[in-house]
Structure formats: C-alpha cells, structure tokens
Symmetry: C2
Subunit: 210 residues, 2 copies
C-alpha cells in the first residue's frame, strides 16, 4: 500500500497527541478534537486513519489506548532503534542530550567528530569517536539511524563515509542536500530549522498585519 | 484567500530549494525537477503555486530567480525579524549559534534563563537575561518571535510571561503544547524532534524490511 508521505507525517503527530491524552487519563477522542490538537481537519484525520483499516465507530470517537497501540505498530515506534550523531558541535551535543529521544525508543549510542579535543571522551555519557571509526562502530553497536549535525562545509566529507556504512536512515540537520548516489536505499529526511521560522513569519503576517 | 497550511510548509521548502539552485547558477526549473528536489509530486508543485497566480509558461519551466522573489514576498522572508530564545540550555544555545537563521533574516537578539551563572553574560555574543526581564527586552529590541527551548517542567512558568508580552509568534521545541489562553492571536508552531525519527523508522521499515 502506498501511503502518502504527508499522512505518515501526521501519524507521527497523532502518536504524540495520543501519548499526552493517555498520560492525562483521557479514554476517548473524536476526530474533531484530534484535529484541533494536531492542527488539521476532522476529515483529514479520518482519511489518514482509513488507510490502515477501520478504527472506532461513527459517533463514538476513537479509543485512545487502542488507537495509540495501532499507530505505534504502524510506525514501528515500539521497537528500539540505535542512533549515531555525526558532529559533536553545539547542535549535535544538544541533540545527544535531548531526553525525548530515549523516552520513545531512540538510543544515541555514539557521537562522531574530527576534533582531537572531543574524541575518546564522553559527552553526556555517550562516547565520541573519530569519524574514521564510523563504519566499525555502526557495525558493533547495530546502529541503523544517523543524525547529521555537521556544518555545511563538512557535509561532502561525510557523504562517502555514510554511503559505505550499514546505516539505513539519515536525519539531516545540515542545510544542504546529502548526495549518496552509491546507496540509494538509504532513507534521508532533511530537518530545516529555518523552514519553521518562515512559516511562523507567514502566519504572523497573515494574522497581525492584514 | 485561505491557503492550506501544508502548502505554506511546502512553499518554505521550495524557497530553500530555489536558493540552492540560484547559488549554483541554475536559471530554469520544471515542476518535475522541483518535485524531486523537494520530495513531492509535480502536480502538487503546480497546485501549490497556483494559489498565488500564474508562474511560468507550460513546458518552459519556472524562472528560478523570479519564482524565488515571488515566494520570498509571499512568505515575507525578505523582512528582518528579531527573535528571542527562552532557555539557555544546550538546545537554546545550539539554536543561538545556528548560522542559518541570520542568513535568512532572523536575528537572535536575546537569550533568557533563570540560572544566575548564565544571566548577564553573553553566549555567542548574545546577551542572556533573567526571564523576568522578558517583556521589557521584547519591547526594547522589537522582538516579534520567541523560540521556546526549556525543559517540559519549565513550560508552565513561561506561559504567563509569553501571554503578557508583545510576542507575535512562538516556535516551541518543548515536547508539550503551550497553553496561552489569554492571547489567542499569538501564532504557535511546535517543532517535534522525535516526529522526524518516527518518520525515518517508518520509511526504513518499509524500504528495508518488507
């Protein structure tokens, strides 16, 4: 089944919303409330969920715990994933400290850098290796996901290293597109921190200035 | 005109793509190439751009510079925006160092925290103030956008401060929903760092395990 990418993006937001509701002890949620909490429309919620079979009965809303379990299963969010962060600069270090990752099953096993001052030390309890050890550590620690947090000028140096490794997915925070021709099967997702600021300014302009 | 939020999100990605093309000296781009570069479909690109009038001629592709100028105008990306970051911890500090913001017109004018060790010092050249000075500094520096980078447990302490301030938009990195009942006009956008990892794992699963 070919699920639109935008649906997958929203599923991840629904999971977050359902987690909060579950923690608060909420049992049922309508597609209307779900839409408000996730900034979409009730029609969109129903359409997104319809890809994966029938959830809940009309007029009764969704059972929070059941729906969360099913979405967790669809997104594979219940599995553990080992993660490496490339770049032990301020962003890489901040990401390695981010508690939210471990809570939902993403375990940062290693940081990589080229700075001799940082290598062979631990940052927040996570070992920092020289980038030339990347393939070896990925194998040893069963790392499947790499987070790229290097400056733009360092990106071309790590492309070959990533392409040769057993990494399956890359989350790229560098503001350039990664070019991994040799390993097309690697899944790459770009995180553009400025994109969100663009959107905020557009929304401000529309709400405050017109 | 009511533009779908998903379109605005994609416009911000088109801007990024067009900037790169312009830097590389590319003059023309088809909706097909644009779609590949931004992970969407040619139909989607054409539909998104159709909201804002007619761009380019059929079969000729878009003129990179003209389209970029128009999108910059729509998204108000040519204006300067002053930004405050709340939370001078590892994430807030990393965001204050992020060069990409200033390059596209977002100027971080102040950091806020409650830690006496950090206050009244400068981090990356940006002054760190006590959070109780927030309203005052926002007025003085004409700050319109706040980036929230505090731990979950500190969120409730800053909601009132944000609600009382003249802030127009908030980019929230804390993994909880902000509750600013008193100032409904404030635009809030959540950045969920774990959401992208969920999506990566889903894509890995689909590409590698099925």
């Amino acid at each position: 089944m070919d699920i639109p990418f935008a649906t997958i993006e929203r599923l991840a937001i629904y999971v977050r919303c359902l987690r909060h509701l579950k923690e608060k002890g909420v049992k049922k949620i309508s597609s209307f409330e779900m839409a408000i909490n996730t900034r979409t429309t009730p029609e969109q919620v129903r359409k997104d969920l319809s890809y994966f079979g029938k959830f809940g009965k009309t007029g009764e809303g969704y059972d929070v715990e059941t729906l969360l379990k099913k979405l967790d299963k669809i997104l594979k969010t219940k599995r553990k994933w080992n993660v490496a962060i490339i770049g032990a600069g301020s962003l890489g270090t901040a990401l390695s400290r981010y508690k939210g990752f471990k809570e939902v099953g993403y375990d940062v096993k290693a940081l990589f850098d080229i700075d001799p001052e940082k290598i062979n030390k631990k940052t927040n309890g996570i070992p920092v290796y020289h980038i030339e050890k990347f393939g070896e550590v990925v194998d040893k620690e069963n790392i499947e996901i790499a987070i790229v947090a290097v400056p733009t000028e360092a990106v071309s140096d790590i492309e070959g290293i990533l392409a040769k490794s057993k990494i399956k997915g890359i989350l790229n925070f560098a503001p350039v597109t990664l070019n991994l021709k040799t390993r097309r099967k690697i899944v790459i997702l770009d995180v553009d921190l400025t994109q969100k600021l663009y959107i905020i300014s557009y929304l401000i302009k529309n709400k405050w200035e017109e």
